[in-house]
Structures are given as structure tokens and as C-alpha cells.
């Protein structure tokens, strides 16, 4: 939109195993909803990664994006796995492939993909990602033990650049505030953060640069969190940070190659 740029940090495309993508099976569906709501760009993951696995999802995501994203508005998110089975290339090569394919961030699904998210499995990869400031998505829904798993991960990789997603609609301040307080690399995407006046509270406590607009598409639509950020009560320069500039900065500072 003319007065505010929005960069969606949290959305997914692809056909989920249980259906219900409601138009999000393709990048065209996502782009149409972005247009209807006035969202400029999106960082997009595959919606069926948990069921179909990282290998399929990482590849299929690129196919889906290439099929419809003629204006390069979408940046991909790739899923990581433990190093020992050699399913993904070594870190440097993997990051170079990300750069070559317009993939800007990482995620992980240790419970669904049956591995332990710890130093033994992803230590080398996460140390390299932290050093290169590559953003990694982390959420209570996908970690063993929920929030305990998120806390363990952050204690193990305290220097990581992390985007906490899927915070749950039940006000999550008791869990996200300790993370924001203790880990400067922690950011929160706001698609499920519906706390009244809460965006302004978090910005005042931890800085607006720690918060990111996310739609949560296709489970959620784009517009509701746009309006809550627009009228968070924060100064417009902070609104702009949350709406798009923070994510632009995170992706720009990542040194993939």
C-alpha cells in the first residue's frame, strides 16, 4: 500500500496433507490475498513440511514460488535436519544454495521429523547460521515440550538470530518476555499475538525492532494483524519497522555467501 509497506514474516504455501489450505495451495493464491490486503512481500515456508518432510518441502517450495511469483515478492524458508545422515549439504554449501534460490531463513520440525534439536545434531549448522546471522524460525508448537523446548534451544544457541512464531492465541507474555529479555537475537512475529495494546507494550519493553508483522496465512488472513500494528499506538516510524523494515533488515544482514 502507498502509505505503509508490509512484509509478511509468517506464511506458508503448498497442499497440506489434511487439506484446508483455502487457496494457499499455490503461490498465486497467497499473492492474490496479499494484493487484496495490500501486503507487498512475504517470507514463505512450505505448508506441508511436517507431513511430507524437509527434502520434498524444500524442493517443492521453490517450484511453487517459481510457478507464480513473477515479480520476486516471495522469499523462501528451508527446513533443516541433523547433520549425521547427510540429507542436506554441509552448512556453507547449503547456505550458498539458499542464496542462489532466494531462500532467506530456516525452520525446523524436530518432533514431526523425529530428531533431537541439540548441539549434537545441528551444532555446526546452528553455529554457522548464528555467525552469519541467518534467521531461524522457532515455535512452541513444533518443539518437544513446547515452550520448554524453545527455552532449551535458546540456551543451547544463545547467539542465534531467531524469529519466534506461532505464539498461540492465549496471551503468551509469560513465555515470550523471558526470551526477549535474555536473548538479543530473539524476535517475535505477531500473527497470533492478539493481546490488547500488547504490541506497544512489547515495543516499549524490548524495542520495536524485535517485532515482525506476520499473517499466519493460510490459517489466518492478512488484514487483522495489519490493523492491530497500524493502530498499535506506536509512533509511525516504529509501526513501519514492525510492518516491514525489521524483516528487510534481518534478511539483508544475513550473510549466506
Amino acid at each position: 500500500m502507498k502509505d505503509f509497506a508490509f512484509f509478511d514474516a509468517q506464511c506458508a504455501i503448498g497442499a497440506p496433507i489434511l487439506g484446508n489450505a483455502r487457496g494457499g495451495e499455490t503461490a498465486a493464491g497467497l499473492l492474490a490475498e496479499m494484493d487484496r490486503n495490500g501486503v507487498d512481500k512475504a517470507l514463505v515456508a512450505h505448508a506441508n513440511t511436517e507431513a511430507a518432510g524437509a527434502i520434498f518441502a524444500n524442493e517443492n517450495l521453490l517450484e511453487l514460488i517459481r510457478a507464480d511469483d513473477v515479480d520476486n515478492r516471495l522469499t523462501g524458508v528451508w527446513t533443516i535436519l541433523p547433520a549425521q545422515c547427510g540429507e542436506l549439504p554441509p552448512p556453507d554449501e547449503f547456505f550458498a544454495q539458499m542464496a542462489a534460490n532466494r531462500v532467506g531463513a530456516l525452520n525446523l520440525f524436530p518432533v514431526a521429523h523425529r530428531w533431537q534439536a541439540c548441539r549434537l545434531t545441528i551444532g555446526r549448522l546452528m553455529d554457522a547460521a548464528a555467525e552469519r546471522r541467518i534467521p531461524v524460525f522457532l515455535g512452541q508448537r513444533i518443539m518437544d515440550g513446547g515452550w520448554r523446548g524453545v527455552f532449551d534451544f535458546m540456551r543451547t544457541f544463545p547467539a542465534a538470530t531467531v524469529i519466534i512464531n506461532g505464539v498461540s492465541l492465549w496471551g503468551p507474555d509469560r513465555n515470550i518476555r523471558p526470551l526477549l529479555e535474555n536473548f538479543p537475537g530473539c524476535h517475535v512475529e505477531l500473527s497470533e499475538y492478539w493481546v490488547p495494546e500488547g504490541i506497544a507494550d512489547l515495543a516499549r519493553l524490548y524495542g520495536a525492532e524485535r517485532l515482525l508483522y506476520g499473517s499466519g496465512y493460510p490459517r489466518f488472513g492478512h488484514g487483522s494483524t495489519m490493523l492491530s500494528i497500524r493502530h498499535s499506538g506506536l509512533p509511525l516510524e516504529q509501526v513501519r519497522l514492525i510492518a516491514s523494515q525489521n524483516l528487510e533488515r534481518l534478511l539483508a544482514q544475513a550473510q549466506l555467501v
Partner: protein, 271 residues
């Protein structure tokens, strides 16, 4: 790029986007108050809640107090809080089916709590008692005699307040206006079944605005004339929920119906 929903000239979405408020009243028919066991609420007392409501132009918030629903805080105390903000707050008298002595007291004192009290709130899923259980009968009979609304927490698949139970209750008490809180949490076939059979039923939207396509499907299947806006305030931000209505792919009329017209048809403008 085509104009976004927020840029449509003269629309409600444009007004709220630009100004944070529009030239319409908003009736929030589902609120609470007070702290919560599992959630930190920075703004759960009346003054802070009212400040948030005024920012977006909520004309009335009808609430039930967490402490009355979950604890033993009496409704008269809620009335005293409501009376501090009579220009914006209204209350539901909270009912726990396990406290029969409280129910007797509440019905006896109901007149002293009007006009700020407009009806009752049931929370069957939490109290684990079916709405059709005899313990709710005194309240249902009272509401029926006076044609009062009852906001009932409803959830798809629940044995206490799911579509089957609510169909039975709404059929048995046709004089009661039932507000189905959360509209059975998106169990659309269930909601439609109840809507088709019971004209005395309205569907309240807390937690649904923002969920992709659900407002569109409720408008298509049930009709926007049966939908009521609500937020569970202090659970959910007014801008988030209003944003979910305004950005839904529905008509401008649908949005007006949901945010205020249906309530004004039901309760008038002066209550």
C-alpha cells in the same frame, strides 16, 4: 497492484485504517474482566480496558467477570464496577451451575442490577454441566419470562454446549435470545443446523475474526444478519478483531451488520 481493501474509497476499512476509528458505533457483545490463571493480561481492569475500547470507538462492551465465572466473586460487585463506566460498560450476570445459592441470589437481585445487567453468561464447557441440565433451569425460565439474552460459551463437539445441546436448549426456550459465543468455534455445519432450526439464536464471533475465510463462510452459510461482534476483551485486541471483519471478503453491508446493526435491531440504540 489493485487497490487494497484498506484503500476502497468511502469504506469502513478505509476509515479505520486512516483514523483508527469510524463514524459508527461498535458493540462488543463478549468481554471479560480481571486476571486469568493461565494468561498475563496487562490491561484487565475497567479503566485500562475502557481506554482501549474508546480508542476504536466501542460504544458498549458487555462483559462477565473472570472471577465470577471461575471463582466466587459476586455479581453485585461486578455491578459496582460496571456502574463506574455507565457510558460504555454493560454486564452479563455470570452463572455457575454448581452454586445454586448464588443463582437464587442473582435472580432475586437481578432487578437491582438492571439496566447495566442485560442478561446472563453461561460457561458450560468450563463448569462441565450441559446447558440442558436442570441446574440451569431457573435462569433459563427467568430469561424466558423476561425475554433476556444469554451469552453461552459454545464449542463444536462439546457435550456441554455443542450444537446438539444448544439446539435442544434453544428449541425448548424460544423466548430466550441465545448468543452463541465463538459460534461453535468454527463448526460451521453445526452452527448452520442450529441457525436453521432456531430463529432465537445469534452467533457471536470472538476468536474467529482473523481466521482465514471463516467470516466469509459464516456470512454465506448463516447470514451476516445473525452475527454479533465480540472479542473476549481483555483477551483479544479490538483492532485485531475489527481488522478481521474489515479485511474479510464480504460486503460493506455485512460489515455494518456485524459491528453494530444487528445489536441495534435486537436491543435498540438506547440501552
Amino acid at each position: 497492484m489493485k487497490k487494497a481493501v484498506w484503500e476502497q474509497p468511502g469504506s469502513l476499512a478505509e476509515a479505520f485504517w486512516k483514523n483508527g476509528i469510524a463514524d459508527i458505533p461498535i458493540y462488543d457483545m463478549h468481554g471479560h474482566m480481571g486476571s486469568h490463571n493461565a494468561i498475563y493480561f496487562a490491561r484487565c481492569e475497567a479503566p485500562e480496558m475502557v481506554a482501549h475500547l474508546r480508542r476504536i470507538g466501542v460504544r458498549r462492551l458487555v462483559f462477565s467477570h473472570h472471577y465470577s465465572l471461575m471463582g466466587s466473586f459476586r455479581n453485585q460487585r461486578v455491578h459496582a464496577i460496571t456502574a463506574r463506566f455507565p457510558d460504555i460498560l454493560r454486564m452479563y450476570v455470570s452463572i455457575s451451575p454448581h452454586q445454586t445459592d448464588f443463582i437464587a441470589e442473582d435472580l432475586e437481585q437481578f432487578d437491582s442490577m438492571t439496566p447495566l445487567a442485560i442478561g446472563f453468561k453461561f460457561l458450560p464447557d468450563y463448569h462441565k454441566v450441559k446447558v440442558t441440565d436442570p441446574r440451569y433451569e431457573p435462569v433459563l425460565n427467568f430469561a424466558s419470562e423476561r425475554r433476556l439474552p444469554i451469552l453461552v460459551h459454545t464449542w463444536g463437539g462439546s457435550p456441554y454446549d455443542g450444537p446438539d445441546v444448544m439446539l435442544e436448549a434453544a428449541t425448548r426456550y424460544p423466548q430466550v435470545t441465545f448468543f452463541m459465543a465463538h459460534s461453535f468455534s468454527g463448526d460451521l455445519p453445526g452452527a448452520k443446523r442450529v441457525a436453521d432450526a432456531c430463529p432465537n439464536v445469534y452467533f457471536e464471533l470472538t476468536s474467529l475474526p482473523g481466521q482465514h475465510t471463516i467470516i466469509e463462510r459464516l456470512c454465506a452459510d448463516i447470514g451476516s444478519h445473525r452475527l454479533l461482534f465480540g472479542t473476549d476483551m481483555p483477551w483479544f485486541d479490538e483492532y485485531q478483531h475489527v481488522g478481521g471483519i474489515l479485511s474479510a471478503d464480504i460486503s460493506e453491508d455485512d460489515k455494518h451488520n456485524i459491528l453494530y446493526r444487528n445489536v441495534e435491531k435486537l436491543l435498540g440504540k438506547d440501552w
